[in-house]
């Protein structure tokens, strides 16, 4: 898992600016501690998929509506339900610095966010390689709560992959995933290698977000 420093800096609000020396040093310290503390885990299961004409997605005995996702899944016959987490050691680390140094807590938060992204990318790549053996291709990750895919699917989604037992992700009463640095996503499986239209930050409707990526060519996925 190689943490993308540019991504971490973006989460800190630096945009395209270079960090000052002290922030850069603090970031390296946080990266080291995150790497030492994280216990990254992931789980995924593969299900048959049906997408209805009115944009309902049916898989794993679940049925939910999303136009964005249905577009993303065009041409897919199967779907992967995926969840990954850095584990609760990183939560403890974040708790620690939230109490003792808010500057470090903010940097650590950004570093941990970049770390879980990096880990998801790594997992996705290995799934991609496995599928390549079957002549199949993987669509980009698409997470509950993103675009018009309601976050209300989260409990059923986590249950379908037994996430609490397999990787230790549970939901709080407020629907927040614990450990904090956790990701759930679906990925379509298709026989054709078509890249999806837009992905990631740029597809999000929250246009005034301070962390929005400036240009999609800026960062390679």
């Amino acid at each position: 898992m190689i943490i993308d420093r540019k991504e971490a800096l973006r989460y800190m609000g630096f945009g395209k600016n270079d960090p000052d020396e002290r922030t850069a040093a603090l970031m390296e310290e946080c990266i080291r501690e995150t790497e030492n503390t994280a216990q990254p885990r992931h789980v995924y299961r593969r299900f048959g998929l049906k997408v209805t004409e009115d944009d309902y997605i049916e898989a794993a005995g679940l049925r939910f509506h999303s136009r964005n996702l249905s577009k993303n899944l065009t041409g897919c016959g199967e779907i992967i339900f995926f969840a990954a987490t850095l584990g609760n050691g990183v939560d403890m680390l974040m708790n620690r610095y939230a109490r003792l140094s808010i500057a470090k807590a903010a940097v650590l938060q950004a570093v941990a966010a970049a770390a879980i992204e990096a880990y998801c990318n790594q997992c996705q790549k290995s799934i991609e390689e496995k599928l390549a053996g079957e002549g199949l291709y993987l669509r980009p990750r698409f997470s509950p709560g993103y675009g018009d895919l309601s976050i209300a699917v989260q409990p059923d989604f986590l249950a379908a992959i037994d996430a609490s037992k397999t990787v230790g992700i549970v939901l709080s009463e407020g629907g927040v995933m614990l450990p904090e640095k956790s990701v759930t996503a679906v990925m379509g499986i298709s026989g054709e290698n078509s890249r999806c239209h837009i992905e990631g930050c740029e597809a999000c409707p929250k246009k005034d977000c301070a962390y929005r990526r400036e240009s999609r060519n800026e960062f390679k996925r």
Binding site: M12, R96, A106, D162, E173, G175
Partner: protein, 810 residues
């Protein structure tokens, strides 16, 4: 018939998977399996009978998830589970035990989650009482992924029944539980809690479990139980499948039983066919005799520290004795100060932290409980609970997530009989001071005799010698020049008897100059004499150097790797004990204060804040405090500096981490002023009170914490109610303090709802109060929709709003 009498006489077999079999018979995804106890009893009876016919001696009633979070008729569900199980036993004509099966609650405990420890205990207690009433023979706690929840379940079982308790946890292929516990941690914790049989289930197949089982068998002195999955799960056509067939399963299990399992069965993917193959193959095997293992293990939730080999460092700094600042922190409930002491010692190399928060004028029980809870929320180091107050001791031991070290008992009968029952109940490794009613023996023989008394009394409570660590007592050298000799002699002789020892090292130099020189030399001599653990100040360079060199010379530092890594780049050692350890060595762990930058001393307070130099800011403030009035410093230096940074942040020339480093530096400046003012005996005036909270359901609070620090910088008295705060709590606090402004944070669309509810309640109960909101999902539109007065897109905006609203006369 009691399982306890049969254990060890023959191999006991337990049934296999249940959930997967129910699914095969039509249980829908999302349907609660235990509901079938009432709606499809015949299916349960069938499955139980099949397992009995396959040779299972224990069957698990279908109660795994039967708790109040999932059912409002827990008693009925559990009773039905036992009716079905008993029916199956009758039909099979066999003799069998029926276990009350308890799995995880499905919620994560605090501090990582939101479920309170005592609430978890009460949830399980309800299940246990229902199980006892329904006729359970055994309590089986299984598939546990979190040691804290595991402890809650075991306590509930013990406090509400006399039944045998078996507990198994899930390990992954890294040989850890999801929350990080190793087999050593689990073994020590469960043995300490006096569980009858311990082990592992689910997650892995028998092959993957073998090396983990081997570790548990190495450390455990209690019967072991193992119920693996039928291999690793794999999905096929959307269904979970397992590949290990009955014969292969039985063959692997035969080997594990040979390694010492007394109770064996299966978990997910195993079927009556697996159990049949298992019983057929292994029924004739003789249980491997149990041996008493002599490992002294203390643990946190994730980390085991072993005493008896390489010496262990117990950090002594969390203790108010002789520290006026620490005492003040205790009186103020300033937890950050205490936590910082903990983190600093951990960074300096402590393995265990002693925790003593006793002060006559505070509620020690409450403070001890809070300190232990907070420390274990931010550090993975085991703790040594240090108090003479049995009530404080019990509360701390109860909520401690692991097997703690207990400081202390001594040879006095009254003390032992008040503390040992706690150790018997909660587990722990106890420090036994070698003194008794007759005082401190003046000879090594005398101290050894007291130690014997402690071992004997401990045995009455089933506490084994491995869980006693004798404090051979360090007496002051300046009053008696034979002190060290007697102590070291006692350590040496205890070591020769195979006992564990500990010393509070620093006492040796009391009344002498250059104390660290004496302390470190004595520490070395004691380690050479065989000391298991030293209670020392790990922040003192000389002490750590003594320790590191001893590890090299004593052969505990393989190829001197740790020494080289730590000292190769360091400057030569300075004998003065006051030299900063950090300046001389590079520590492996990061420092709490973040980056250190060297800066010339002539930097002004304004410079320090703008540059975000925390330590220098304190010094710079101190330097001007004698010469300038405090208000002049605040308004002439601190506030302008903050304004510079704030404006830079607005303009996008300064970024969040820099803003926050400056905020911390400003905080340090205020700290210096506060210390000065309190020395002068005058009180500092505060601006208005602002109540802030992360709303109910939400547990992400970094944004709120940032706002807090910034508002405090600007002189506001911020009451931080924390995260996951119900509307009622916020309203009550606002009403109580008559706060003119409330800040609410929410990160999720799902929790903005509770933000709206909070605002609604505030409007009714505290109409004078303005509400500002912020958080990732919020926008101006959202804020308007839920009726907030102000939306802050970043932390600085909340400061500007507060200033505009509350500080117009500035």
């Amino acid at each position: 018939m009691n399982l306890r009498d049969e254990l060890g006489k023959r191999i006991i077999f337990i049934d296999g998977g249940l959930g997967s079999l129910l699914q095969e018979r039509g249980l829908e995804p999302g349907e609660l399996p235990e509901s079938w106890n009432l709606t499809r009893p015949e299916v349960l009876i069938d499955i139980h009978r099949e397992y009995l016919e396959a040779g299972a001696d224990i069957i698990s009633a279908n109660t795994f998830g039967a708790n109040r979070f999932k059912y409002n008729n827990v008693d009925e569900i559990i009773n039905a589970a036992f009716v079905n199980a008993r029916k199956a036993v009758e039909e099979s004509g066999r003799k069998a035990y029926i276990a009350l099966d308890m799995g995880p609650t499905g919620k994560l405990l605090k501090p990582m989650g939101t479920l309170d420890f005592e609430e978890a205990v009460s949830v399980y207690a309800e299940v246990v009482r229902a199980g006892v009433k329904a006729g359970a023979d055994i309590i089986l706690i299984e598939t546990m992924t979190d040691t804290y929840e595991l402890k809650a379940a075991v306590l509930a079982a013990k406090e509400n029944s006399d039944l045998p308790v078996m507990a198994t946890v899930v390990f992954d292929e890294h040989q850890k539980m999801l929350t990080g516990a190793t087999p050593e941690v689990v073994t020590a914790l469960l043995e300490g809690l006096r569980v009858d049989a311990i082990g592992m289930n689910c997650g892995l197949g028998p092959k993957q479990m073998k090396p983990i089982f081997e570790k548990m068998a190495k450390y455990a002195s209690v019967p072991l139980i193992i119920t693996p999955n039928a291999g690793l799960p794999r999905t096929e056509g959307g269904k979970t499948v397992y590949d290990v067939g009955p014969e292969e399963f039985a063959c692997d299990m035969e080997e594990i039983i040979g390694m010492g399992a007394w109770i064996a069965g299966g978990c997910c993917g195993t079927t009556p066919a697996h159990i049949k193959a298992l019983t057929k193959r292994c029924a004739g095997m003789k249980p491997k005799p149990l041996t008493e293992k002599d490992y002294t293990i203390v643990t946190s939730y994730s980390t085991a520290v072993m005493l008896g080999g390489r010496p262990v460092i117990i950090g002594e700094r969390i203790n108010p004795t002789g520290k006026s600042k620490f005492k003040q922190a205790l009186r103020d409930g300033n937890m950050e100060y205490i936590l910082e002491e903990g983190v600093r010692q951990a960074d300096s190399g402590a393995h265990i932290l002693d925790v003593n928060v006793g002060l006559p004028e505070i509620d020690e029980t409450a403070m001890m409980q809070r300190t232990v809870y907070e420390l274990q929320s931010i550090l993975p180091l085991p703790l040594q609970i240090d108090t003479t107050n049995p009530e404080a001791m019990e509360r701390a031991m109860r909520i401690y997530n692991g097997k703690p070290m207990i400081n202390s008992v001594n040879g006095k009968s009254e003390v032992m009989h008040s503390i040992f029952p706690l150790v018997q109940k909660y587990g722990g490794t106890v420090v036994g001071l070698a003194l008794d009613e007759d005082g401190i023996p003046q000879t090594a023989e005398g101290r050894l005799a007291v130690a014997e008394k402690i071992y004997d009394t401990a045995a009455e409570y089933g506490i084994k010698p491995k869980d006693i660590v004798i404090d051979a007592l360090t007496m002051t050298m300046s009053t008696d020049s034979s002190s060290a000799g007697i102590t070291l002699d006692a350590v040496r002789r205890l070591k020769a008897q195979g006992r564990r020892t500990v010393l509070g090292v620093s006492n040796i130099s009391f009344g002498l100059p250059q104390r660290e020189a004496i302390n470190s030399a004595f520490f070395l001599m004691a380690m050479q004499a065989g000391l298991s653990a030293g209670i020392i100040n790990p922040n003192a360079a000389a002490m750590i150097r003594a320790y590191d060199t001893f590890c090299v010379l004593g052969g505990y530092d393989s190829q001197c790797m740790s020494y080289i890594e730590k000292y190769a780049a360091a400057e030569p050692a300075v004998m003065s004990g006051t030299a900063s350890f950090e300046a001389q060595t590079k520590t492996a762990a990061g420092k709490t204060t973040g980056v250190k930058a060297s800066a010339p001393h002539e930097l002004t307070l304004t410079d320090c804040i703008v540059k975000g130099l925390k330590e220098q800011a304190y010094k710079a403030a101190e330097a001007v405090l004698g010469t300038k009035d405090t208000m002049e410093i605040i308004n002439g230096e601190l506030v302008p500096a903050l304004d510079i940074v704030g404006k830079g942040f607005e303009k996008g020339t300064i970024f969040l981490p820099q803003l926050l480093m400056s905020a911390e530096a400003a905080k340090a400046g205020f700290e210096a002023i506060k210390d000065y003012v309190s020395r002068q005996g005058t009180a500092q005036e505060k601006k208005a009170v602002i109540v802030i909270a992360t709303v109910k359901g939400d547990i992400h609070d970094i944004g709120k914490n940032i706002v807090k620090v910034l508002l405090e910088n600007y002189g506001y008295e911020v009451i931080d109610l924390g995260k996951d705060v119900p509307p009622e709590t916020i309203v009550a606090k606002v009403a109580e303090t008559h706060a003119p402004l409330v800040g609410l944070s929410a990160l999720m669309t799902t929790t903005v709802v509770s933000m709206e509810e909070t605002i609604k309640q505030l409007r009714d109960a505290a109409p004078w109060c303005k509400v500002m909101v912020g958080g990732a999902v919020l926008t101006q539109e959202y804020a308007d929709m839920i009726g907030a007065d102000f939306y802050g897109k970043d932390a600085m905006q909340s400061v500007y709003y507060a200033e505009e609203l509350l500080n117009q006369g500035k």
